[in-house]
Symmetry: C2
Amino acid sequence: MNRPEKGREIHLRRNPTGTPVEDDFEVVVVPVIKPADGEVLVRTRFFSVDPYMRGRISAARGYADPWPPGEAMRGGCVGEVIESGDPALPVGAFVLGGYGWREYYRARADEVNRIEPGETPLSAYLGVLGMPGMTAYVGLLTIGGLERGESVFVSGAAGAVGSTVCQIARLHDCRVVGSAGSERKVEWLTERARIDAFNYKKNTDLTAELKSRFPDGIDVYFDNVGGAHLEAAIANMNRHGRIVACGMISTYNTTEPPPGPRNMMRIVGERLTIRGFIVGDHAEQRERFTERMTSWIESGDVVYEETVVDGIENAPRAFIGLFSGENLGKMVVKV
Amino acid sequence: MNRPEKGREIHLRRNPTGTPVEDDFEVVVVPVIKPADGEVLVRTRFFSVDPYMRGRISAARGYADPWPPGEAMRGGCVGEVIESGDPALPVGAFVLGGYGWREYYRARADEVNRIEPGETPLSAYLGVLGMPGMTAYVGLLTIGGLERGESVFVSGAAGAVGSTVCQIARLHDCRVVGSAGSERKVEWLTERARIDAFNYKKNTDLTAELKSRFPDGIDVYFDNVGGAHLEAAIANMNRHGRIVACGMISTYNTTEPPPGPRNMMRIVGERLTIRGFIVGDHAEQRERFTERMTSWIESGDVVYEETVVDGIENAPRAFIGLFSGENLGKMVVKV
């Protein structure tokens, strides 16, 4: 296709307070500029909205520098080279980049990764085969040190990361229970992901719920949610249990510091480990992860779901929807 | 000495609610019985009162079975064999046992450990050379994975465990800061243990205090206190920092579940590890620990302090005093 004159981007207008609203973002039309030598121009097909982005658009520095208002939102995106200044990445090549919520972007050819999707849907590179899938893989196996046959509890189990964690654990002969926030998600987990699951919104006593689901206790808890889930899991962990601290979505939009677990002393008594991680620290596992995950997907051992929101202008709504649990599986925006 | 007819013990009368009071305990006079074959009769010289005992006298099962009301309090004790039914432990031998708050006890010879104190004060086997000393050693080196030159924060730094942690860290060329609850303790830490220390009761903002004491952050936090200390430490941990969860004395007497750290998300972002442990799981390190600690004490590299309370009838007061910080170093009861 020819290079258009202009393209749309979603910019952060201001740092949200509490739960983000659509007005925190704006559509901005920018000129699409010819790539220089060594650069490519990419037309984005899908980009990612992820819970972690909430931390990056806070004014306070979290674990990485905040994304400043007045600029385009960042994050994973897959697209096609439509004009190239580098013979290594010809027009028509597909690439994975970190250029965010834009219709078009220009980048140095060595700042994107070429992918060869073949039969694989492009969007999978943002989900099960991408950052969230690898987060599940590294978190469960390396950080959690999962052993065959253990009891595994996963919160946010129907999300992009959680749904993959559940299935990797199932493939390790583990007893897996996931929590999710709707009947539809529970059904998906039970029927498609083939694990045990419950709707945490239907039960006010998470600790008792876990007690009944895990009469013999939990060996590994994969925490995507924090808050009450974390406290309930701590209460049900087995001796020498491990808690993988991956995310705490229940706390991302709080305007006051969220209450912490009131049973921290169990960490001592039961010799628990809570360990946080960021998948970016484990890039050396990418190749092996891709190989194994591709094989699991091909064999049907791992299934995945996507929630696709159409149109870049709807990206803020898609992003905000993550916090009310509107996604089943990976939430992506189709451009 | 001859076997007396009767001896005193301190029994738990009832499970304390909140902070224990003296009335939760009672002095009971019991007959002193001749040891059978394979048994010894021991006259206790010193016994231990430790914070962990608070958990054991709660009605609820903690990480171990509770000690029931109507029985003698348990715990570490050192004494001398005064009558023996086992040639391997003759009269006059010194032994370390777990028989608690009693003037005399009978035990199978293989259920006590012979010690050869030589120049070492007997009470040291309850402190720096005993369970608390080994807790410090295992916790800091094995659980915390301390590396030379790291920045180490220790709470409860003037207690039996904390004071030893501080000095082991100092011997590993670490920058060490301890928190304690009185000027006298701070002075001891600074002048005798030769580390930096502050009185946390003089400052309401622990997070800011740690920020000023550790402008480059904390690598290892050895937690004896929990509560506000833990939250403040989490706020100041460096990336990949480790928190050794040894005890949480600030929470032991709460009647409501104590508030947890409100900044748990830093565990994810900064890739922190919180790991609990119980020294009893690491018995294989005892020999090496004893060897190294003995050598550190002989060289003056590790100094230790004891708070000795005289008279078995004062044991409840000594125990209760642990929670208001009346001990400098190890609190022991001299019988």
